[in-house]
């Protein structure tokens, strides 16, 4: 194996071009061409029927909701919707389809020529969408007898066809040049944006960990200044947003290593290895004509009317870009602030926290501060942490009411994250509350003045800024549970000094 070239070094010599193929499993109740349910995780072969098993005499009929879903996605991706198109039969012998073919679309995809704008580091990249087509998902195979479930070396395989026939949308980008060193980030931003659009449209649950959103990343590199693009590899098995970024980054370094050593990049399918962050060569693909595509004879053509398309367009929800623009305006944030929120995956959380009564500023502070730090440490999304927007809004309310100061509020957040209950419960169980009882504070202030008579004298003499030391002493005495401004006012009052 050729050595990897460090990423920065690879980018000095080469220019990457990326392309992404994303598969989205639609969240319909029934399958694409039959009435079998689509529940994830059901017992094997309990969601199958003669149609999705390809038994003789069965006939497929297309699911209207799936057709609507893909048209809505196409519209959201600024595509043209074909006035007439057909399904195609893709023939191959691989037991993940019981029919020995997959119903897909070939040269007549239902949506073509769109684009999606994504923002990375304050710059907008327009990702061209080549096509969006509809097909049926395949079954799942367990490979037995080889090392750790790998297909290589397996003695036989066991197939579950529950997934076979679930509607699957494939979104294919045009090649994306010009992203330079940001290629991995742009790839990740694109998949994230596409995921958010699908979620907003309600057409899929887009759970990468359950395989309802799957990504293949195509990468090629060419020497800087070259007029032709390099040979691309297609990396499969990219199963998280972070993996999208890592896979593209790794392929750039790997291909640079191959070219630097005087080799040639092979056009091939590669598989991303989650544990090592590398890619390994996969099986060589049959060429397109080897699939012997032909128009699916069992399904009549689709011809969505202009009226139907316009009806679907009119009913589109507010899409993520428009929503972000609106929220940014409402919250009065700069582009960079907004990007930080989005990158932290905290947009929904902040919006819900604001809806629960917190100010945008306070909500943003907690989600981007304490909570994002914790999510980062744990390597999870903020939304996966055991703290809800309602919890954060409750903490903010306690701060606003003067019952907590920032320092105590942090401890409350920490307690909620540690599973100690709601903010109110954490406050009670940890005994966290600002000491606002002036009697108790007065005693602490008297003690601080008595113990620091020299400083007190300076303050009486007009050096008001020295009060900080006394405030610090009181805060220490009350273990941080006092409100600093109240303490300061009280000290000055006792010393007979006005600010």
């Amino acid at each position: 194996m050729t050595a990897l070239v460090p990423y920065e070094q690879a980018l000095e010599a080469y220019e990457p071009v990326i392309g992404l193929e994303v598969h989205v499993e639609l969240g319909t109740n029934s399958k694409m061409f039959c009435g079998c349910p689509t529940e994830f995780g059901a017992e094997p072969n309990t969601q199958v029927c003669p149609t999705c098993l390809g038994l003789p005499g069965s006939l497929p009929v297309a699911n209207k909701k799936a057709i609507e879903s893909i048209i809505r996605l196409g519209l959201a991706l600024n595509c043209s919707i074909a006035p007439w198109c057909r399904f195609a039969r893709k023939n191959y012998f691989y037991p993940d389809m019981p029919k020995d073919f997959q119903i897909s679309q070939y040269d007549e995809p239902i949506c073509v020529e769109g684009y999606l704008d994504v923002e990375v580091e304050g710059k907008t990249y327009r990702i061209g969408i080549e096509r969006v087509h509809l097909e049926e998902d395949t079954g799942k195979s367990l490979h037995v007898g080889g090392a750790t479930g790998r297909i290589h070396g397996a003695s036989h395989s066991l197939v579950d066809y529950n997934r076979a026939g679930i509607p699957l949308v494939e979104v294919v980008t045009k090649p994306v040049p010009g992203t330079g060193a940001l290629a991995p980030e742009v790839a990740k931003a694109y998949v994230t944006e596409l995921r958010d659009i699908c979620k907003t449209l309600g057409i899929s649950d887009v759970k990468m960990e359950q395989g309802s959103l799957r990504c293949d990343a195509n990468v090629s590199i060419a020497p800087r200044g070259a007029t032709e693009w390099g040979t691309r590899s297609e990396t499969k098995n990219v199963n998280s947003l972070r993996s999208v970024e890592r896979a593209v980054r790794h392929e750039i370094s790997r291909q640079a290593g191959v070219l630097d050593a005087g080799g040639r990049v092979v056009q091939e399918t590669r598989h991303f290895q989650e544990d090592s962050g590398t890619t390994v060569s996969g099986r060589s693909k049959e060429t397109a004509e080897d699939y012997r595509y032909f128009p699916e004879p069992d399904l009549v053509p689709l011809a969505p009317s202009a009226d139907w398309i316009e009806e679907l367009r009119a009913a589109l929800p507010e899409l993520p870009t428009a929503r972000r623009r609106r929220l940014q305006g409402d919250w009065d944030l700069t582009d960079l602030d907004m990007e930080a929120l989005i990158n932290a995956g905290a947009l929904d959380s902040v919006e819900e926290t604001v809806a629960a009564g917190a100010s945008a500023e306070a909500a943003r502070k907690w989600w981007l501060g304490e909570i994002a730090r914790r999510a980062n440490e744990d390597g999870v999304e903020v939304s996966a942490l055991p703290i809800t927007p309602a919890d954060v809004a409750a903490v903010v309310a306690l701060v606003d009411a003067g019952s907590l100061n920032d320092k105590l509020a942090r401890q409350v957040i920490e307690g909620v994250l540690a599973g100690e209950g709601t903010p109110e419960q954490v406050v009670a169980s940890r005994g966290l509350a600002v000491v606002s009882d002036t009697g108790a504070l007065g005693t602490a202030v008297d003690a601080a003045i008595a113990a620091n008579e020299g400083i007190a004298e300076k303050i009486r003499g007009g050096k008001v800024q020295a009060v900080g030391a006394l405030v610090g002493a009181v805060m220490k005495e009350t273990r941080g549970q006092a409100d600093a401004a109240t303490v300061k006012a009280l000290i000055l009052e006792k010393l007979g000094v006005s600010e």
Partner: protein, 98 residues
């Protein structure tokens, strides 16, 4: 244009058909005759006749997204040559390529 022996061998491999040399030659001859017969269609088809894939003039035959009853796993697996753990058991997948 005659279909070659190699083209037939390629098709046979894609269709997972094990043909010997005599069969390849025989198939090449037969396929050639079929292709010749079909080619006559293009002699009479003019530009204003689009290629037809479906004999019925229907479009948008769709069903509502409603769940219908499935087979039981026993029924589903009853026609399988081999089954194991509620799944279809198939011979090794890799290694069959020549």
């Amino acid at each position: 244009m005659a279909i070659t022996r190699d083209e037939v061998a390629h098709l046979a491999r894609l269709a997972r058909l094990d043909l010997d040399e005599a069969e390849l030659a025989q198939m090449a001859g037969q396929l050639d005759a079929i292709l010749g017969a079909v080619a006559r269609v293009s002699e009479v088809a003019s530009d204003d006749v689009p290629p037809t894939s479906h004999a019925v003039p229907l479009t948008n035959v769709l069903r509502e997204d409603v769940v219908a009853p499935c087979l039981t796993p026993e029924q589903a697996l009853s026609g399988a040559p081999a089954a194991q753990d509620g799944r279809f058991r198939v011979p090794r997948i890799l290694g069959e390529e020549p």
